[in-house]
Amino acid sequence: MKRIRNRFGWLAGLAVLIVLLGDTSVQAHVGGHSDGGGGFQSGLLHPISGLDHALAMLAVGLWGAQLGRPALWLLPIAFPLVMALGGALSLIGIPLPAVEIGIAGSGIVLGLMIMLEARPPLAVSLVMVGVFALFHGHAHGTELPDGDSGLWYSVGFVLSTGLLHAAGIAVGSIHGWAWGKICIRVAGALVMAGGVYFLLGSLGWFA
């Protein structure tokens, strides 16, 4: 257990570092690829500024930690790639139906999986995470501010997403203890509750 804590402790530290450094005034404008400044910072802050996104990213890490190897590292590898695919679809103008419902659904389903400590076959968990990643990526692509540098936005956005997964995995490393297992399942229930809240919001219940 101590080895696991050491293994992921630096990832958690890095997540804190990136959040702290993300508050700096970045005006990246790199030759030939940019239409304006600020892309890196807006990309970095985008996944953590929306609670619906942040909860799902943390949940992927938590679920990975619950499932153990190889899901532990396959889920965080698959998620950014499929999410980038979703972002790419959005950028080139291919619409995806019910994106907001899909994002809220990711919180509900992932939260439920964590709460029940469900262990579906690896392929099933990868497909589930992949489908949700598509929705999240599409939303990120749609919300890319005009005038920002696309390349720098992508760097910040992927880095931030990856570090949220890492934070989820780091927190999930308490799974080795009996009380830790309970805490993670409670966290899953909270993620699910958040998902329900966002689903109701996207259906106009709080309008």
């Binding site: 970045v26 990246a28 030759g31 972002g87 950028l91 696309g150 992508s154």
Partner: protein
């Protein structure tokens, strides 16, 4: 990874031409490489990939990449007939090298070195085009090549020395991140109205 994050998160104002470091064109080239994610991350991914392939591949990369880079810069610098075209496919090499690293594809060393030559020449070519357009000193190209060599040396050495399974996985995760950045950057170039 921490160094990468710190470099990326530094406040900065880069320009369409090379960044003015205050230390002359050589260091302008050096800084340009460090704040150009398309160049920097491609070299990082390629170097980590060659490091995972073993010491022989890593050594080969460190020798071939800068030569190819300088050659590409030279071609780009004098390729005035082509400079009217806009080369904006920064995402291609990011996506390619990121996927190679993420998958950890086992390639013969000569294939890996061929990829290094292609990547180095392509990125050098783009640098050369930009330098010719802005009248930048050739010394900046040397600065870029030296910075690329140092990055390749450090990253490939680090990857070659990894032994624990979780470290190898962390390196492959970096590959998937680079590929994701490349995919998004590529889509950005093809978005309607771009």
């Amino acid at each position: 990874l921490a160094v990468l994050v710190a470099i990326l998160a530094l406040p900065r104002t880069a320009q369409a031409h090379l960044v003015t470091s205050g230390g002359g064109p050589f260091f302008d080239g050096w800084v340009h490489f460090c704040v150009s994610p398309d160049d920097f991350l491609t070299v990082v991914a390629l170097a980590l990939f060659s490091g995972l392939a073993g010491k022989r591949a890593a050594r080969g990369l460190v020798l071939t990449l800068p030569v190819a880079w300088l050659l590409g810069t030279l071609i780009g610098f004098y390729a005035t007939p082509f400079s009217a075209f806009e080369f904006r496919f920064a995402g291609v090499s990011l996506l390619g090298t990121g996927l190679l690293l993420g998958i950890n594809l086992k390639l013969p060393t000569r294939w890996l070195l061929l990829i290094a030559v292609l990547v180095g020449t392509w990125h050098g070519f783009l640098n050369g085009l930009a330098m010719a357009a802005t009248g930048t000193s050739g010394l900046a190209a040397v600065g870029i090549a030296v910075a690329a060599t140092i990055a390749a040396l450090l990253m490939s050495a680090a990857a070659a020395s990894l032994a624990k399974p979780w470290q190898l996985i962390a390196v492959r995760v970096v590959g998937s991140w680079v590929a994701a950045i490349g995919l998004l950057a590529l889509a950005w170039e093809f978005r309607p109205g771009s």
